[in-house]
C-alpha cells in the first residue's frame, strides 16, 4: 500500500501516512476553508489501511493551529482509527502533541480523548 504524503502549506498540515511502518502523522496547521475536501484522501487511505493494518499503529498529531472546520474531520480520522483498533488486527495509539503553554491545544486533546475510545497519550512538547 502506498504511503500518503502531502506537503504542508500555510493552511494545511503535512501528512505522512505510512502503511509499511504503521505510522500516521498530521503536523503543522489545519485551517483550510474547506476541510472536508482536504481530509477526504486521508479518510479514504485509512479505509484501505483498515483492511490490512500493521500489528501496531502509531498516530502522531502535532498541530500548531486547527480551525473548527477541521475539528470534525480530525474526529472522523480518529473514528476510523477507533474502528481499526476495535477490529483487533492492530493496536492503535494516538499521541496528541501540544506545546507546554498551549492550554487550548491541550484542552482540544482532552476533548477528543473524552469522545473516542482509543489509547490516547498527551505529549507535552518544549517550545
Amino acid at each position: 500500500m502506498e504511503t500518503l504524503l502531502i506537503e504542508g502549506s500555510a493552511k494545511t498540515p503535512t501528512i505522512k501516512f505510512d502503511a509499511e511502518q504503521g505510522i500516521i502523522e498530521i503536523k503543522g496547521r489545519s485551517i483550510p476553508e474547506n476541510s472536508i475536501e482536504f481530509y477526504k484522501p486521508l479518510i479514504d487511505w485509512l479505509e484501505k489501511y483498515s483492511g490490512k493494518p500493521k500489528a501496531d499503529t502509531v498516530v502522531n498529531i502535532q498541530l500548531e493551529y486547527f480551525n473548527t472546520s477541521s475539528s470534525k474531520c480530525i474526529l472522523d480520522v480518529f473514528k476510523k482509527l477507533e474502528a481499526i483498533n476495535k477490529g483487533g488486527q492492530s493496536s492503535v495509539v494516538i499521541n496528541w502533541h501540544y506545546e507546554e503553554d498551549d492550554e487550548d491545544m491541550s484542552e482540544a486533546g482532552e476533548d477528543y480523548q473524552a469522545i473516542i475510545n482509543v489509547p490516547f497519550k498527551m505529549v507535552m512538547v518544549q517550545e
Binding site: 485551517i31 493551529y65 480551525n67 472546520s69 470534525k72 503553554d101 487550548d104 484542552e107 473524552a114
Partner: protein, 182 residues
C-alpha cells in the same frame, strides 16, 4: 469630499492594526492571516496570546467567508452590496479587539441571536460540554463548520460575545460581532 482624516483619527484612537471592507475570498483570508501573523511576531507577543488571537481571527474570518446569506454567483449590484463585509483588529493596551460586520437575512437574525445568547450564559465547563456535543453529532453542514465556530471563539477568548443586529431594509440586517482577547 470624504474626510479621510476623520477615518484615520477614528482608527488611530481605536488602535486599529488592520482593517478590510469588501468581498471575503479565500485568497484574502490567506493574506490577512499572513499579515497578522507577522504583526504579532513583530510585537513579540507571548506565544499563548498570539495563538489565541490567531485562532479567534481564523474563526471570525471563516465565519464571514462561510456564512454569507447572498449567493456567490449572483452578480447584481444589490447582491454585491450585501455580500460585502467588514473586518477590523485593534489593540488597546494589552487587549486585542476583533470586530466583524456582515449582512444577514432578517429571517436568520433570531436563530443566530438565540444561539449567541445561549453561548453567553454558559460557564467555561458548559461551553466545553456543548462543544463536544456539537462536535460529536453527525449533523454537519456542508460548510463544514457545523456551528462550532462561535462556541470555539467564546471558549478561546474566555469572554462574552458582544454582538448587535441592525435592520437595514425588509430583507437584510447588519450583524456585528466584537471579541476581546487579553
Amino acid at each position: 469630499m470624504l474626510d479621510i482624516y476623520e477615518f484615520y483619527d477614528k482608527m488611530e484612537r481605536n488602535k486599529i492594526m488592520l482593517s478590510f471592507k469588501g468581498d471575503i475570498t479565500s485568497e484574502l483570508l490567506t493574506s490577512i492571516l499572513q499579515i497578522m501573523e507577522s504583526k504579532l511576531d513583530n510585537l513579540q507577543e507571548e506565544p499563548k496570546i498570539k495563538k489565541k488571537v490567531y485562532n479567534v481571527l481564523v474563526e471570525c474570518l471563516q465565519n464571514l467567508y462561510h456564512h454569507l446569506d447572498v449567493d456567490a454567483s449572483d452578480n447584481s449590484d444589490s447582491a454585491k452590496k450585501f455580500r460585502s463585509a467588514i473586518f477590523m483588529i485593534g489593540k488597546i493596551g494589552s487587549e486585542y479587539n476583533i470586530i466583524t460586520g456582515n449582512y444577514i437575512l432578517n429571517k436568520n437574525v433570531n436563530p443566530l441571536r438565540d444561539k449567541l445568547n445561549r453561548i453567553n450564559v454558559m460557564s467555561k465547563d458548559e461551553l466545553k460540554e456543548y462543544y463536544k456535543e456539537i462536535l460529536n453529532n453527525d449533523e454537519f453542514s456542508d460548510k463544514g463548520g457545523g456551528g462550532l465556530g462561535m462556541i470555539d471563539i467564546a471558549r478561546k477568548s474566555g469572554q462574552k460575545l458582544n454582538f448587535n443586529f441592525i435592520e437595514v431594509d425588509n430583507q437584510y440586517s447588519f450583524f456585528s460581532l466584537s471579541i476581546k482577547i487579553s
